[in-house]
Amino acid sequence: MKTDKAKINRLHTGVPGLDEVLGGGLPEFSFNLIAGSPGCGKTTLANQIMFARATPERSALYFTVLGEPSLKMLRYQQQYDFFDSEKVNRAIRFVNLSEDMATGDLEKVLARIVGEVETHEPALVFVDSFRAVVRASQRDGGSHRELEDFVQQLGTLMTTWQATTFLLGDYSTEGEANSNPIFTIADGLILLRQSVQRNSVVRKLEVTKMRGQPTLAGIHTFRITDAGISVIAPVQFDVPAESGAGMPDPPRAELGVRGLDAMMGGGLPRGYSLLVAGPSGSGKSILASAFLAEGARLGETGIIAAFEQRPTQSRGPVMAELIESGRVGVVNTRVPGISIDEIAILIIREIQRLKATRVVIDSLSGCELALAPTFREDFRESMARMVSALASTGVTVLMTSELEDRYVDLRFSPYGTAFLTDAIIVQRYIEIDSHLRRVMAVVKVRNSAHSNQLHLFHIDADGIQIDEMLINRDGILSGQPTRVPGLSGRHIDADDH
């Protein structure tokens, strides 16, 4: 008995991120539906797949049915980089069915499609838009049954002719999408939509069905740029092995602030994520810059994803020079409708490009503001995913978090993101002798001894300078410490622990 199973080839779509979401590509000879409301990018997606895949040997037929007049479609689609005029009439044939469709006779339309398929034997077939077929059929008294038969025949025909087929259709509601018989017949179903929240519009894609292969469940955002569509697939990563008892201590990354590495127990363990929390102006960004500059001094490259300040101009000449010389890469986060997943992808791409070992995200507060409103609700979950993804690359991460100074409790992050990180440094303002002073403490370094002392620090032209430990004060975290009689402060050395 033969047990060889039919092998289903998966076709690369040529749409960045889509193959991952589809679970490896499109099944060859599948019968797919690309559905969504007008203007959501169906035609662009279809054209992009077609231009990526079609060759003179494995050609494509693109049936246009009004809908969008063909002249306009050609006019607008050629604005995208993927459109290659040289392929038209060689690898790609556009076939206008509007006159056949005007008769409302679906048999005739099917006969025309069959004729073209027999003549050209395409590997890819597109029918744009299928909604027009439905309307034409219903206008002329065609029954739902007739339409179902038409789709059934088309599906069978295309599969036997060994063509991978796409029907494009305008469907505005999911209820409609689910109840329509076409959706049952299709092997694959790609739904596109535009999510509007306040004045932000985000394009989203969902593969609700793809026979025979596991797709990435969930709703994924996509962008349309001059290059065409790119889907923001969630970052895939391997969970790194846990370090634990018996494991050698990981090497440390110096932070570039004299005295602080000693407070951390010898620097920040490599591969860790560090949260630096503090109120506005306390020196978080300066610490972040020192972390990158120290890396550069040691011959490492770094990445900065900055959300508030202009990274090249506002971080001083040292950072500007590092960015200019390419030792620190900047991730552009000024993109409307951006999500954490997309930020993670941009950062990881930069890590791979620059072989970076240090990453700064400055700050989580700015990051949240930069997100489209639709993504803010899932901020914590997305952050957790991003931190894990970054950790999987082995880089050492420093994130800053704006922290409103509250002297009644000790908090590290307004988002509850503190638990995500392996290490925490907190900075605060306190009042001493009618002066506003800064203090810093290491709150946590996972699996490592560290200082638990509160140190005064100040910022000068050379950056952060750690000063004496406050040993003669009580109630420092209340913001208004009181002097303990009989004790005096002392200056500490970096190694004084």
């Binding site: 007049p69 063909s70 002249l71 050609l74 006019r75 005029s85 038209v88 556009f94 076939v95």
Partner: protein, 134 residues
């Protein structure tokens, strides 16, 4: 742009040959384009070309009026037959050029050239790729 079509009289073609060649050429244009942009798309571009050229060749107005419904270019052939060889060749050449320019403005030179290449490789075709003004 001096179309090769315009040289037909100089090559010794008579008005019947010119009118016939013109109709045949428009059929080829139609055959190349209508599967892609639809019959209506071709008709609309042809009528627009007639409209743009009728101030120069007022007799094209009758073709414009006649071609309101499905055009098989018979009206154009008939109108050309009433002209001198030189006028007919020049008018049709101008008409082709206008049609080509309109299409190129909509879908770009590169794609227009790609779609009409087979037609304009014909010995009595209108514009050649090299002759298209930028």
């Amino acid at each position: 742009m001096q179309a090769r079509f315009a040289r037909m009289p100089a090559d010794g073609a008579n008005i019947q040959e010119i009118a016939h060649a013109a109709r045949s050429l428009w059929h080829d244009v139609d055959a190349a384009l209508s599967p892609i942009i639809g019959q209506r798309g071709v008709d609309a571009l042809f009528k627009r070309s007639l409209y743009l050229r009728h101030s120069e060749y007022p007799w094209l107005a009758s073709v414009y009026a006649d071609s309101f419904f499905r055009n098989d270019f018979a009206a154009l052939q008939t109108a050309l037959l009433l002209q001198t060889s030189a006028t007919a060749a020049a008018a049709n050449s101008a008409l082709l050029q206008t049609f080509y320019d309109l299409l190129a403005k909509l879908i770009g030179d590169s794609l227009t050239e790609q779609l009409l290449r087979s037609v304009f490789d014909h010995p009595y075709s209108g514009p050649t790729v090299q002759e298209i003004s930028p």
